[in-house]
């Protein structure tokens, strides 16, 4: 099976976000594989181990993204592709990424493409579905189980806590939800072998695209942090009075009742 994983390098979840001059400061931030993409990498490796074939991890990013690709290789992926847009794309959006990936996949025979449900930074959840649309293949989002049998795939899809059972045909693109699997740690031998695995670097030029083709369709007008959480309120007095006060606060202050 020809398995591909779409992977994004994102801020570490433990990172404190600092905004200045309408931009997120990323100078000293730590970066990780987008956690949902880790499920995708894990699932890809599992499917390959079960059905044979090859796992290729693809990212659209910059030179620094090589670290995350190497980590995916250390986990067990076979090949990596870095589409480096550092010099060509200023402010890309989901359209940009999907468009670049579309060109990349044009001449590939992918049986299975796995992506994360969302990237935790911008959380649009669009790149996977957009890519599937433009490649004209099936897609299922937020999956929590994947069983492949010949040309068909049996999938559990998380729908707000319920499970939808879906049967579909390959080739298929899926986006991975928490619960699908438990991503492995890259093993030590895996880490040492990762440096010998192929990592191809491309620019949009190599995909016959120029800057205009991938220009963002959206514009970011402002970036701001959510308002700081105010201190809570501890009610005092007799229980009966506290209940009354709480009801009145919920009605009049919070206006939720």
């Amino acid at each position: 099976m020809n398995i591909y994983v779409l992977l994004k390098r994102t801020f570490d979840t433990e990172e404190k976000i600092v905004v200045s001059d309408g931009r997120i400061e990323d100078e000293s931030a730590e970066y990780i594989i987008n956690p949902y993409d880790e499920y995708a990498v894990e699932e890809a490796i599992k499917q390959r181990d079960e059905h044979g074939g090859e796992v290729t991890v693809v990212t659209v990013g910059d030179e620094e993204s090589e670290k995350q690709l190497r980590t995916a290789l250390a986990m067990g992926a076979d090949k990596a592709v870095l589409i480096n847009t550092e010099d060509d794309v200023e402010d890309g959006d989901q359209y940009t990424t999907a468009k670049i990936l579309e060109s990349f996949f044009e001449d590939k025979e992918a049986d299975l493409i796995l992506a994360g449900n969302v990237a935790i930074d911008e959380a649009s959840g669009q790149v996977g579905p957009r890519l599937a649309e433009s490649l004209g293949i099936n897609y299922v989002t937020t999956i929590t189980a994947l069983e492949i049998d010949g040309e068909s795939a049996n999938i559990d899809k998380d729908v707000e806590g319920d499970v939808e059972k879906i049967e579909t045909a390959l080739p298929v693109l899926v986006t991975c939800q928490q619960g699908l699997n438990e991503p492995r740690y890259p093993s030590l031998p895996g880490i040492m072998k990762a440096k010998k695995k192929p990592l191809e670097e491309l620019e949009i030029d190599d995909l016959d695209l120029d800057e205009d083709d991938v220009e963002a369709k959206t514009e970011t007008i402002d970036i701001f942090l959510p308002p700081e959480k105010e201190a809570g309120k501890v009610l005092e007095g007799e229980i009966d009075d506290q209940v009354k006060e709480l009801i009145s606060l919920l009605k009049n202050d919070a206006k939720v009742l």
């Binding site: 090589e66 670290k67 190497r70 980590t71 250390a74 740690y185 890259p186 093993s187 030590l188 031998p189 895996g190 880490i191 040492m192 990762a194 440096k195």
Partner: protein
């Protein structure tokens, strides 16, 4: 000069840190309190290849270098001194001598299971009456046909209750100047006549197994002699030089953990209406700790780097062991101080760091012995 870690070293650091944070840290208090050796954690470390870092793939290892190994010990030590000590001991003392001095057959039989993470190992040098003065070894190994018959007693041996093999040092004869020849012999722990008892009630590293060993007419094939029969002593000096880097790395980890805990507590704890990190007296402690931790890291990594580049590293390993372990003790002590009364309580963990750090100034050559090693290198 290049102070940058390689991609592999960075990945190993990140991976071991995550493993330590997620798997070891939640258990650290219990491991200490109950003095429980965390065998299951070692099984997981073995599966991930952490126990085989500095050994080549041909022997089942992970093919990493000494620096990667030191970084891994540091990361484990940062959350749990007990696990860190047993990790350092099995790799540096149990397995490494076989890698350095063993025959191909010994490597296949005894190193491979350890490098693959399926077995633990020990090194039995210390005896009731031979500690710092290892030359005073009383244990004997007498030739009998194709075998050695070993008799004697060893004490304070890390991992012995869980080890598959113990490398035992024993007197095998006298040289032409009439001095004892001390050799190292690989003794499988299931050999008849070998008794291991572990009932020390320790101050620190309580979850690391420490055992007494009695060898009563233990018979092993002569093939189990490790390395050159005449050079046993210089071989284990080389082994200890390597081991010192790992104990230094463990000290570095404990010092780093102490610093982090002290810093975050100082920022949170308010007295006199301010976080205590606003007081210069606390700031100076934190500044000293941070500086010493970084200096310790520099010498630990340098000693590992020298070893990786086949350069002499004996003196630097002693610097690293001495400085990093004394830094660990000072940093842990100050971390307790910064925590005030809370620091004295097990829950806050820094008192454990202090107890664990104390061992590092004793094991694998006391601080005094390190100074003797350094002085000897200076030509004194």
């Amino acid at each position: 000069m290049d102070f940058e870690l390689t991609k592999e070293q960075t990945m190993i650091q990140k991976m071991v840190r995550e493993f330590a944070e997620n798997v070891i840290k939640p258990r650290a208090i219990e491991i200490d309190k109950e003095a429980l050796f965390p065998l299951d954690i070692f099984e997981q470390m073995g599966e991930l290849g952490i126990l085989g870092i500095p050994f080549p793939e041909t022997y089942g290892g992970s093919g990493g270098d000494t620096l990667s190994y030191a970084i891994a010990v540091e990361e484990v030590g940062r959350v749990c001194g007990s696990t860190g000590l047993s990790f350092a001991a099995t790799v540096s003392l149990g397995a490494s001598p076989i890698y350095y001095f063993g025959t191909e057959k010994q490597k296949e039989t005894f190193l491979r299971p350890m490098a693959e993470g399926r077995a633990l190992g020990s090194f039995g040098l210390t005896e009731p009456n031979a500690g710092s003065d290892a030359g005073g070894t009383k244990t004997t190994a007498v030739e009998d046909g194709d075998d050695y018959i070993i008799n004697g007693e060893k004490c304070f041996i890390t991992n012995a209750s869980f080890a598959k093999t113990i490398i035992v040092t024993a007197v095998t004869g006298k040289n032409n100047r009439g001095k004892n020849i001390i050799s190292a012999i690989i003794v499988p722990t299931d050999t008849k006549g070998l008794t291991v008892t572990s009932n020390y009630d320790k101050m620190g590293v309580r979850g690391s197994d420490t055992a007494e060993i009695v060898l009563d007419n233990v018979r092993v094939p002569k093939d189990n002699l490790l390395g050159d029969p005449q050079k046993g002593f210089s071989q284990f000096l080389y082994t200890l030089d390597g081991g010192r880097i790992s104990i230094a790395a463990l000290g570095l980890g404990i010092a780093q953990g102490s610093l982090e805990k002290a810093l975050s507590y100082a920022k949170e704890r308010k007295q006199f209406g301010k976080p205590i990190s606003n007081f210069q007296a606390i700031q100076f402690k934190l500044a000293d700790m941070a500086m010493e931790v970084e200096l310790a890291r520099n010498i630990v990594y340098k000693a590992a780097w020298l070893k990786d580049h086949d350069k002499p590293f004996s003196k630097e390993a002693a610097y690293a062991k001495l400085y990093a372990t004394e830094t660990a003790f000072r940093a842990a002590n100050q971390a307790v101080q910064v925590h005030g009364g809370y620091g004295y309580m097990r829950e806050y963990e820094v008192e454990r760091y202090l107890r664990d750090a104390k061992l590092l100034e004793i094991g694998e050559g006391t601080s005094e012995v390190q100074r003797m090693v350094i002085a000897r290198q200076l030509g004194c």
